[in-house]
Amino acid sequence: MSGSAAIELHGLRKVYQKRRSEVVAVDGLDLIVQRGEVFGLLGPNGAGKTTTVEICEGLTEPTAGDVAVLGRRWRTGEDQQIRARIGVCLQETKFLDKQTVRETLELFACCHPSGRSVDEAMALVSLREKANARQVALSGGQRQRLAVATALLGEPELLFLDEPTTGLDPQSRRQLHDVVRTFRGQGGTVLLTTHYMEEAAQLCDRIGIVDHGKLIALGSPPELIRSLGGDQVIEIDAAGIDAVVAAASALPGVQRADLAGERLALTVGSVHSVVPPLLELLAARGIAMRGLATRQATLEDVFVHLTGRHLREDKA
């Protein structure tokens, strides 16, 4: 290992013993997160994202593999040095109800030998006007920003954000995105997990797609989308569409065809050259379309292509 990367994982494996069976949460993951980048771990629920992050945070011990965080290793007498240089926002933390924003931050500020002032941290997440508000009076977005503020108090070099925007409204989400961008702009490294692909595409320099505990794709968002072979998608919604998948995918200019129920998504380089022969094909086979749409390819398409499933179950 070079020691210059923010995070280096080699052969990472985590197996949970559950009664008489074993659950493999992380299955031989290799990953390097470079300093100064926002790295997104993308994957559906249960893919192993949180386990991977918690191993990096020192909260979970891996079953096998090598983990280096900022060039140091957990459980080798360097834990405190690592903790002093990282900031963590867990997937779910409930702070004490009767503490104000300022009091909560004061508690976490005392945990760090040096770092930002409480006022600075509040300013970073735009919570100054809520300084004296108790937890119970905060909205979901404000609580989440407070959680991020607690992670920023120690002026970390590396920030772990585990699904920080889940359940937040778009405005709160945007505010958190601004916090991440500012942190990165100051030279910080971020390891972010999310199952919002738009978020990953907007925020991350590189993305690792995880499924069943394995890293199945790695690259920048444009690289991953380009790996589909085209950056445009034609979606056709029609009964009996499955009968023309092979023929549609053989049309000139079609790079990939992904069928989900009665919806066929064709990844193409050029929409205008594929649509006319596609319509002719459907007419010849007597298939009546319910809908046809074209759009830019997204990370969701990458994920569907790689796994055959949608990233978020509610989209399946």
Binding site: R83, F108, C111
Partner: protein, 343 residues
């Protein structure tokens, strides 16, 4: 009323409970276990002899009359020691005078005083030839330092420290654990011992003033004496508070649910309520029960506080309970720190 709704809610509630084995054990398993253990421990048996003191200067025939009774455990003591034995509840009654004109001294507010009076009078009557009435002079003990209230107030301070130390510490910790707050703190560079010490101090700050308020009530309103060193008393309250807080911390160090921590606290508190010497003297116990009572921190605290309140003396007079409580607190804290579940 829609029975389907009631049925579904009941089924959901039960299922949730059934799938939490820790809660299940402490709610149903533990009381059952207690019933079995206590059932064996308290098998029907003849009542134990009631301890009474007879003054050393009392005539031989009076002593013989009392020792002849199988229902009395007679201790021959000097007058000064008799006062202390009565004040500490080690004896239910002090008998003096003569066989013809016995003098019985007891605090009538103690539950066993009336029984002792009946048993002593019966023993004296049996000793006399033929039936007749015993004209015993009953002296109601009401001197400060020898009454039941003088015994009770230190015991209540002990119980207060025990309850506050355990309940106030345990519940919040388990709540912080279940809400992932401990986990969140774990990933900061805070020292675990610093967090736990700070937490203890925060919960502890009201315990000592509350104990002092009970003591003040006892001394100012009930006239309970405080004959020993105030400094020694304060030191003992501090040591006791730390010992019980340490126990609370230990009990909460692994529990994941409120039911679990409540059950563990009951396991720790029940024996102390029963045999910790707060309501009645455990110095009368014998054998294994006495041994068990002696190693309870509440016993040590109660004895120490009674020593320092009812008799003149300083820190040296309560060195044993002080050291015991300090050692107990240290061990509890050290073990809790080692086994504490942050995750």
């Amino acid at each position: 009323m829609n029975p389907r709704v009631v049925w579904t809610v009941a089924r959901t509630t039960f299922r949730e409970f059934w799938r939490t084995p820790e809660a299940l054990f402490w709610t149903y398993g533990f009381p059952l276990l207690m019933a079995i253990v206590l059932g064996f421990a308290f098998q029907p048996a003849p009542p134990a002899p009631l301890p009474v003191a007879v003054l050393a200067e009392a005539p031989e025939d009076l002593r013989t009359a009392l020792t002849a009774s199988s229902r009395l455990a007679v201790e021959v003591v000097a007058a000064a020691a008799a006062d202390a034995a009565l004040a500490r509840g080690r004896v239910a009654m002090v008998v003096g005078g003569s066989l013809a004109e016995p003098s019985l001294r007891a605090d009538p507010t103690r539950p066993e005083a009336e029984t002792a009076r009946l048993l002593v009078e019966r023993a004296l009557r049996d000793r006399r030839d033929g039936p007749g009435t015993v004209h015993a002079r009953f002296v109601a003990e009401d001197r400060p330092g020898a009454r039941y209230i003088d015994f009770l107030i230190p015991g209540l301070v002990g119980l207060n420290l025990l309850g506050a130390g355990m309940w106030s510490i345990g519940f919040t910790l388990v709540m912080m654990r279940s809400q992932q707050l401990l986990r969140r703190l774990l990933v900061t560079p805070i020292r675990r011992s610093e967090f736990l010490l700070g937490y203890l101090a925060g919960r502890f700050v009201l315990v000592v003033p509350e104990s002092l308020a009970i003591l003040a009530f006892g001394c100012l309103v009930q006239g309970v004496p405080f004959r020993g060193s105030l400094f020694a008393g304060a030191l003992l309250v501090l040591a006791g508070g730390l010992a019980f807080a340490g126990l609370g911390l230990l009990v909460a160090s692994r529990a994941k649910t409120m039911e679990g921590v409540a059950g563990l606290m009951n396991v720790c508190q029940l024996p102390m309520w029963l045999i910790g010497g707060s309501f009645f003297a455990n110095e009368r116990f014998e054998g294994w029960l006495r041994w068990c009572a002696d190693v309870l921190p509440l016993t040590q605290f109660n004895r120490g506080l009674r020593d320092v309140m009812l008799e003149p003396g300083g820190v040296g007079a309560i060195a044993v309970p002080l050291l015991f409580l300090a050692g107990f607190a240290t061990v509890c804290f050290a073990v809790a720190l080692r086994i504490f579940r942050w995750n």
